[in-house]
């Protein structure tokens, strides 16, 4: 799983001239072009502080070879305390802007892998996923409070120590009451500073994914794992395309019910399979909570394709045609392979709904097929 993610919001920006060079650099680093430069690629790192932790951010580097001195013989000049023979802590670089990895002792860096955003972006680039056209108006606004400001009044719990200290110090110096030999700072009422908040409006969370999973007896652990992995990536990608994303989870065997994410991935096998139950529930959720005019709706259904009966399958097709398709951007059906199932459902879907472009079906044979499946689902940019 992904390690610490520092930011989850997707920031768009105006394109810059440097984007071309930047894009080229990233393509080279990913090995997609200029293979002859591969041997010069190294993983550098940026070391930074996050509070008291040292954070390591991987930065790829392409070192163009030049005539230069061999490293180990060089050493250098530094400033600071220490006896002969003492090890250097931290990096041996000059002032600002060096990039060599530290040789320090006793430093544990938290590895910040990549943000979810970057993962999603990489996924998008690798699969050549087009960016999604936004539907719906940003009418419904979400309000959020963020603590970014400073004000002079407030409750004690919102005291800003550093600012208060600074103002007190300034006042004392200006009035001459600061004694460097006895540096005692006593803030007055006027010096006090408190954090304050800004209410920010977030544009509407206007996309919802409805995950549906078949948890009947024929779906084993491996199958559920595949579904879990695939849905994680789909989730990450879609999250990066929409400022806020809602997800709903439906599990079904012969009966469908809505659950939370954890339960979605952990439910054990149980009974027979009636897919229509899931579709009915999905349609109901949409009707209740997500008016299609304002929401981009993405139903995903994963199953092993072994439905109870032909009748039920026909019912599913009906529900799809009448209720689900009119409301959805795409409807995706992923069929995992199971030793017990017949896999008939996908064939039926394809037969009855092949004319509807928005219905996308995909067979996911094993873990390696996940990437291809995601590409099939999201490759059309709807």
């Amino acid at each position: 799983m992904v390690a610490v993610a520092l930011r989850l919001t997707y920031t768009a920006r105006v394109s810059l001239r440097i984007d071309q060079d930047h894009g080229r650099f990233r393509s080279i680093v990913r090995g997609r072009i200029r293979q002859n430069l591969r041997k010069y690629i190294s993983q550098g790192e940026l070391l930074g502080r996050q509070g008291k932790d040292v954070v390591s951010i991987p930065i790829p580097q392409i070192d163009i070879p030049r005539f230069r001195y061999g490293d180990k013989q060089q050493g250098g000049v530094g400033q600071g305390d220490g006896e002969q023979g003492d090890p250097l802590s931290g990096e041996e670089k000059e002032g600002e802007g060096g990039k060599k990895a530290g040789h320090g002792e006793g430093q544990h860096a938290l590895e910040v892998e990549v943000t979810l955003d970057e993962l999603a972006e990489i996924l998008g680039e690798e699969l050549a996923l087009p960016h999604i056209e936004n539907k719906g108006k940003a009418k419904i606004v979400n309000e959020k409070d963020r603590y970014v400001g400073i004000r002079r009044v407030g409750p004690n719990s919102l005291r800003h120590f550093k600012r208060t200290y600074r103002h007190a110090l300034q006042r004392q110096i200006a009035t001459g009451t600061y004694d460097p030999k006895r540096p005692v700072i006593i803030p007055t009422r006027d010096d006090m500073r408190f954090r304050s908040w800004k209410t920010e409006t977030e544009p509407v969370a206007n996309a919802v994914i409805i995950y549906m999973m078949d948890v009947s007896g024929s779906m084993g652990d491996e199958q559920k794992e595949i579904v879990r992995i695939e849905s994680f990536w789909i989730d990450a990608w879609l999250k990066s395309q929409y400022k806020g994303l809602e997800t709903r989870f439906i599990i079904h065997d012969a009966v469908a019910r809505e659950v939370d994410r954890d339960t979605f991935f952990r439910t054990r096998e149980s009974g027979g399979t009636m897919i229509s139950s899931a579709y009915k529930l999905a349609a109901q959720i949409i009707e209740n909570d997500y008016p299609p005019a304002e929401w981009n709706i993405y139903p995903f259904h994963f199953s092993d394709g072994d439905n109870w009966s032909v009748d039920d399958t026909l019912l599913c097709i009906e529900i799809l045609k009448q209720k689900l398709m009119p409301a959805s951007n795409v409807f995706c059906y992923g069929q995992v392979e199971s030793p017990y199932g017949s896999g008939q459902f996908i064939k039926d879907l394809r037969e009855h709904l092949k004319l509807d472009e928005r219905v996308i079906t995909s067979e996911i044979r094993d873990r390696d097929a996940i990437v291809g499946s995601i590409r099939e689902f999201l490759g059309k940019g709807r």
């Binding site: 440097i18 030049r66 001195y69 000049v77 600074r166």
Partner: protein, 516 residues
């Protein structure tokens, strides 16, 4: 105004500050080119910084790589670029949008220091592109030059293909540090005479062997006996050999040599010329990092604390500057080193702590209380900033007292413990090490020795070994790049692990062997 500058309008309140700052700076004696400040957002700043301060460069991934590092560093809150200023007339400097008033003032003061340095330090004369007919001021239209260079490369990329051009640039970049910073820049001569003259023995007509004049044929054997003829022939062959050694004197401007004499196609020539021109432009900045940053920091400090800050701003200013001057263990900070050296010079020249009497004085007490009240500090500072580069600056002004006060030390790699360790605080060794790092920008000294080695038009380079070996794996790759340009085998003579060594690449095979 150059049409390539970003042309963002400076808000009035910043323009007012600029006018005030320039007044203060001039009051202290600083003299700078007209300077234009532009306000940029953080990603525009990162872009401009990736391009070395210019709005436009030639297309290449190296700028993308720089951008990746800068923007990541910014994103994770590790660093922020406060100021960026280029050596140009007029000078363009960038302010980061969203900075506080104190920060912007600090940056302006700092920038003015830099521009004064660009204008007066002798090493930057090589970046003059002429003089203004009316004012006599130097012209440095480098924004235009960089943009033109970009256009040239782009046009060739369109004709020949971006991958081909980019690959060639990669190879030119391997050779980027092979210039002669001491020679005034001269553009390459356009002819290709070099290669054609030495194109193998077939094309060279065998000259007549000089013989003594003979009036009668039967006398031939007596006047010009075979032994004599043999000797003559050998003599002229030797002379021919010597004449064929080219260049006559070893040449440090390898890039220039290649431009003049390598069999380059027109597009290759243009591209290599671009890389070389830009390398020469940036060279003085690399030679004066400590002096330049020290100078700018010294002046921003003086201007801010004595003139520009009011009591409400002084703490913020101190906070900011403390960050800039901070030194982490195992590093030296050019800003800190620079400013302390200038302060030391000012102090010493005010007190008269220089000259033969001072050097000869052994008495610690006398030295500590030495104060002739000469007041020449300020004057000496201005003199220093014009006449030195980092190497000569350190050589001249680094003193044992300074090294001790600044707690400087050398560090090196300890094989046994597999880590870097503090080695010594002894003055001579610290100075020596520092000079080593700074000399030639930390690059090895490489020369073109012979462009017709073995009379086969092969290129011979030499590495002047000054105590440190080359990195051999990189050296091999550079030879590869050289062969790409020279189109014939290239050889390098160096010293590896105390043995004279030859490295050679002929286009397909690498050879490394010891020489006698």
């Amino acid at each position: 105004m150059s049409k390539f500058a970003l042309k963002t309008a400076l808000p009035a309140y910043l323009r007012d500050e600029q006018i005030k700052m320039e007044e203060y700076a001039r009051g202290f004696g600083l003299d700078f080119f007209p300077t234009v400040f532009e306000v940029l957002s953080y990603d525009q700043m990162n872009e401009v910084a990736s391009y070395g301060g210019f709005p436009v460069r030639y297309p290449h991934w190296r700028f993308g790589m720089e951008y990746e590092q800068l923007s990541k560093s910014y994103e994770y809150g590790l660093s922020k670029i406060y100021e960026m200023v280029i050596n140009n007339t007029p000078s363009i400097a960038y302010l980061l949008e969203g900075n506080s008033m104190v920060e912007q003032k600090l940056v302006m003061a700092h920038v003015l220091g830099h521009v004064d340095f660009f204008k007066h330090n002798f090493a930057f004369k090589v970046t003059d592109q002429g003089t203004d007919a009316q004012t006599g001021a130097p012209l440095r239209k480098w924004i235009d030059t960089m943009a033109n260079n970009g256009s040239v490369v782009r046009r060739w990329a369109n004709r020949v293909g971006i991958e081909k051009v980019e690959e060639f640039i990669d190879q030119c970049l391997s050779l980027e540090n092979l210039i002669d910073p001491h020679k005034p820049f001269s553009p390459a001569t356009a002819t290709r005479k070099g290669m054609e003259e030495f194109e193998g023995e077939d094309k060279t007509p065998t000259p007549e062997t000089p013989r003594l004049r003979v009036d009668r044929d039967y006398m031939e054997g007596f006047i010009n006996p075979p032994a004599f003829m043999e000797a003559q022939r050998k003599k002229s062959a030797d002379e021919l050999e010597k004449a064929k050694k080219f260049p006559e004197k070893r040449d440090r401007d390898v890039l220039g040599f290649l431009l003049d004499h390598a069999p380059l196609e027109r597009w290759e020539r243009d591209v290599l010329a671009v890389v070389r021109r830009e390398a020469y432009y940036f060279a003085p900045q690399m030679q004066t990092k400590i002096m330049n940053e020290g100078w700018a920091t010294y002046w921003h400090s003086k201007i801010m604390t004595e003139k520009a800050c009011d009591s409400s701003e002084i703490i913020d200013y101190a906070d900011r500057t403390a960050g800039v001057l901070a030194t982490a263990p195992g590093q030296f900070n050019p800003y800190k080193l620079g400013i302390e050296l200038y302060r030391s010079i000012e102090d010493r020249w005010n007190k008269g702590q220089f000259g033969k009497e001072w050097e000869d004085c052994d008495d610690l007490e006398a030295r500590r209380s030495w104060d002739r009240r000469l007041g020449q500090g300020r004057q000496k500072l201005f003199e220093a900033r014009s006449l030195y580069t980092d190497v000569t600056f350190i050589d001249e002004f680094l003193t044992p007292d300074f090294v001790a006060e600044q707690k400087m030390y050398t560090f090196g790699y300890n094989q046994r413990n597999d880590r870097y360790e503090i080695e010594t605080r002894k003055f001579n060794e610290v100075k020596q090490k520092l000079l080593e790092r700074l000399t030639n920008g930390g690059n090895p000294f490489i020369y073109v020795e012979d462009a017709n080695q073995g009379n086969r038009g092969e290129l011979l380079l030499s590495h002047e070994h000054m105590g440190v070996d080359l990195r051999v794996d990189y050296a091999r790759e550079v030879l590869r790049a050289l062969v790409r340009v020279w189109k014939r085998p290239v050889e390098l003579h160096t010293v590896v692990e105390n043995k004279k060594t030859l490295l050679r690449f002929d286009g397909s095979e690498h050879v490394q062997r010891a020489m006698k």
